[in-house]
C-alpha cells in the first residue's frame, strides 16, 4: 500500500515537472490568455454591478455578496482547470490513440489521465478569481477566522471534486461517441451560471436539479450563502452547507469513478 502510494506520487511529480517544461516551451502563447481571461471575468462582474445598480439586489443578494460568490466560483474553477483539464480531452485521446497508450501501462488509467497533464496555465483563471474574491470578502464583511478559513479550504476541495466528477462523467461519453468536445462548452456554461450567480434566481425545478441531481449548487452557492448569511433560495436545507460540500464532492467523485470504469469497459469491448 505504502509502496503503491510512493509509486504514484513519484510518477505524478515527474509528470508535473514535465508538464511545466512543456508549457514553458511556448511562453508567449500565454499572452492572449493573460489578456482574455481577466477581460472576460472582470467584465462579468462589472455586468452584475451595472444590473444591481440600475435595478435592485438579486433576490436579496447585494453587490458585495454577488462579488464574493462570483470570486469563490471562479477560484474553484481555476484550481480545477489546473489539475483536471485532461478530463476535457478524453475524446481526443480516444481518437488519436493516446488512450490506448494509457491502457498499455501498469497503472490506474484514470490516475494516468489526470496526472499526465498539470495545466499550470490554468492559474491565470485564478488571478481574477482571487482578486474578485478578496474584494468581495472585504466589502461583504467576511470573517477571516481560522474556522472560516478551514471551512473555505474544505469547500474549495469539495467543489473541485464535484467539478471533476461532472467532467469525468461527461468525458466518459466519448467512449461511446468518440466525440464529446462540445459537451465541455455546455458544462462550462452551466457551471458558470450555477456557481458564479445566485442559484436562487432560477425556478425551484432548476434549484432542485442543481442541488440533488447535479449537485453543483454545493460548489459555491450554498457555501457562500452560509458564509454570508444570505438567502439560499426556496429549498430550506438543514445543517451547515459548508460541511456538506466536501461530502458531496467525495460521493460524486466516487460515482464518477464508477461511471468512468463502466465507460472504459465499453471502450474495451467496442474498440475504435
Amino acid at each position: 500500500m505504502v509502496s503503491t502510494i510512493k509509486h504514484y506520487v513519484s510518477v505524478a511529480s515527474c509528470w508535473a515537472r514535465l508538464a511545466v517544461q512543456r508549457q514553458l516551451e511556448y511562453p508567449l502563447f500565454l499572452f492572449s490568455w493573460l489578456l482574455m481571461i481577466p477581460i472576460q471575468y472582470f467584465s462579468g462582474i462589472w455586468m452584475l454591478k451595472i444590473i444591481v445598480d440600475r435595478f435592485q439586489a438579486l433576490n436579496g443578494w447585494d453587490f458585495p455578496q454577488l462579488t464574493f460568490l462570483y470570486g469563490l466560483g471562479l477560484i474553484s474553477h481555476g484550481i480545477f482547470v489546473v489539475f483536471f483539464i485532461n478530463t476535457w480531452s478524453i475524446d481526443h485521446m480516444v481518437i488519436n490513440g493516446g488512450f490506448d497508450r494509457l491502457l498499455l501501462r501498469p497503472m490506474n488509467v484514470f490516475f494516468q489521465l489526470v496526472a499526465s497533464y498539470v495545466n499550470f496555465i490554468g492559474l491565470i483563471d485564478c488571478i481574477p478569481g482571487v482578486i474578485i474574491f478578496l474584494y468581495g470578502a472585504d466589502i461583504a464583511g467576511f470573517d477571516w477566522t481560522l474556522a472560516n478559513i478551514g471551512k473555505l479550504i474544505l469547500v474549495l476541495i469539495g467543489g473541485i471534486l464535484i467539478r471533476a466528477a461532472l467532467f469525468t462523467s461527461l468525458g466518459t461519453i466519448a467512449f461511446w461517441t468518440k466525440r464529446n468536445g462540445s459537451m465541455v462548452g455546455f458544462a462550462l456554461t452551466m457551471l458558470e451560471r450555477a456557481t458564479m450567480y445566485p442559484l436562487s434566481m432560477y425556478p425551484y425545478f432548476l434549484q432542485a436539479l442543481f442541488t440533488f441531481i447535479i449537485p453543483i449548487g454545493f460548489i459555491s452557492f450554498y457555501p457562500a450563502a452560509e458564509f454570508l448569511n444570505a438567502d439560499s433560495g426556496g429549498l430550506d436545507l438543514p445543517l451547515s452547507f459548508a460541511l456538506w460540500t466536501p461530502l458531496v464532492g467525495v460521493i460524486c467523485f466516487l460515482i464518477a469513478g464508477g461511471i468512468f470504469k463502466f465507460g472504459m469497459r465499453n471502450y474495451e469491448s467496442a474498440g475504435s
Partner: protein, 329 residues
C-alpha cells in the same frame, strides 16, 4: 509445448454506422443512423513459443491492429480466449502489460516538446525500474540503437528514423519479454530500416525476446521472421515458416533460357512455355515433378542454349497470391 501467447477462437465484432451521401442523406443519417454488425476478427487461433519472431501480416483492414490491441489488453474480445505469458490480459491488464513492449509506428509515446531522455525518465518511474537496471539497460539500448547523438534533443526535432529508434528504446526500457511492433519501419529510409531490423535480431538473440511484427514491408518479414501468420478478412489464412508457405502457395518456378540462335521446337514434357521474347524463353515448371538440373539437362539436349537462370518465387508473390485467393468473404 511452452507458449508465450495462446489465442483461441478469437472473435471481435464491430458495429458500424452507415453514412449516406448528399444533403438528404445527411439529414436522414442525422435522424435515423443505420447500424450494421460485422466481425473484424473472425475466429483466429494460434500460439507463439518463446523466442519466436512472428510476422503478422495481411492487407489493410484485415484485422491485424484489432488482434494486436486484443493481445495487449487494450480491447476485449467478443469471444474466444487469450493468454499472454499464462495470464489473460482481460483479467489482469496491469500484470500483462508489465511484460509487454508495444510500438505503434504511426504514433509516438514520446513527448513532442521534451528531450528524448526525459520521456525515458518518466517510463523509468512508471515501470518502477530499479535505477541500476535502468542505467544498464539504457546503456545497452543507447549503444545498439545509437541514441547518444540525439538523446538530449527535443523529440519534435528528430527525424522519423531517430524518433522510431527512440520509440523502440522506450518500449524496451522495462525489459519486456514480448515486443509488439506495429509497422515499425513505415516511412523510414533504408539506413534506418536496417538499424531497426538489426536491433530486433539482436534482442531476440541475446535476450530471447519474442517479437510480433505487423508490417506491409515484406523485406522486414523476409529478413526477420522465422514464421508468418497471414490474416485476411478477419480470418487466419496461413500460418507457418515462410519457406513452406511460399512453397505451398507458389509451387511453380521459372527457368529463363536464352538461345544463341532460333530453334523450332521449344516444347518439353516437363515444363510449359509461358512467355517468349526473341531468343529469350520463360519456362514454368513444378518443383515437385522435376528438379531444375534435370530440366536444364533435358533442354540442353535439344536447344542451343546461351544463358540460363532459375527464378525462385518470392514472399511478395506468395503474399499477393494469398490476398487474392482469400479476398472474398
Amino acid at each position: 509445448m511452452e507458449t508465450v501467447i495462446e489465442v483461441k477462437d478469437l472473435v471481435k465484432e464491430y458495429i458500424i454506422v452507415k453514412k449516406e451521401s448528399g444533403l438528404r442523406g445527411s439529414i436522414k443519417s442525422l435522424l435515423f443512423p443505420k447500424k450494421t454488425k460485422f466481425n473484424g476478427v473472425n475466429g483466429i487461433s494460434f500460439s507463439i513459443a518463446p523466442g519466436e519472431i512472428v510476422g503478422y501480416i495481411g492487407p489493410n483492414g484485415a484485422g491485424k491492429s484489432t488482434t494486436i490491441k486484443m493481445l495487449t489488453g487494450i480491447l476485449h474480445p467478443t469471444s474466444g480466449s487469450i493468454k499472454v505469458c499464462g495470464i489473460s490480459p482481460q483479467a489482469d491488464r496491469k500484470a500483462v502489460v508489465r511484460k509487454l513492449g508495444v510500438v505503434f509506428g504511426q504514433r509516438t509515446q514520446l513527448y513532442w516538446d521534451l528531450r528524448l531522455g526525459e520521456s525515458f525518465e518518466l517510463l523509468c518511474r512508471i515501470y518502477q525500474i530499479d535505477q541500476q537496471a535502468y542505467d544498464d539497460n539504457l546503456a545497452i539500448l543507447t549503444d545498439v540503437l545509437k541514441l547518444q547523438e540525439f538523446i538530449n534533443t527535443p523529440v519534435r526535432q528528430l527525424s522519423l528514423g531517430q524518433r522510431m529508434r527512440g520509440d523502440i528504446a522506450a518500449a524496451m526500457l522495462h525489459s519486456p519479454s514480448v515486443l509488439f511492433l506495429d509497422e515499425p519501419t513505415i516511412g523510414l529510409d533504408a539506413d534506418a530500416k536496417h538499424a531497426i531490423r538489426n536491433f530486433i535480431k539482436e534482442i531476440n538473440r541475446t535476450r530471447g525476446v519474442t517479437v510480433i511484427l505487423t508490417t506491409h514491408d515484406l523485406d522486414d518479414v523476409e529478413q526477420l521472421c522465422s514464421r508468418i501468420i497471414v490474416v485476411n478478412n478477419g480470418k487466419l489464412v496461413e500460418d507457418g515458416p515462410i519457406g513452406s508457405i511460399i512453397h505451398k502457395l507458389t509451387p511453380h518456378r521459372l527457368l529463363v533460357v536464352e538461345l544463341h540462335e532460333p530453334a523450332d521446337d521449344l516444347t518439353t514434357p516437363h515444363a510449359t512455355v509461358i512467355k517468349q521474347e526473341g531468343l529469350k524463353i520463360w519456362y514454368q515448371f513444378e518443383k515437385e515433378s522435376i528438379s531444375a538440373s534435370e530440366l536444364i539437362a533435358a533442354l540442353s539436349q535439344k536447344l542451343p542454349i546461351q544463358d540460363i537462370s532459375v527464378k525462385e518465387p518470392n514472399v511478395e508473390d506468395a503474399i499477393r497470391e494469398v490476398y487474392k485467393t482469400t479476398a472474398t468473404r
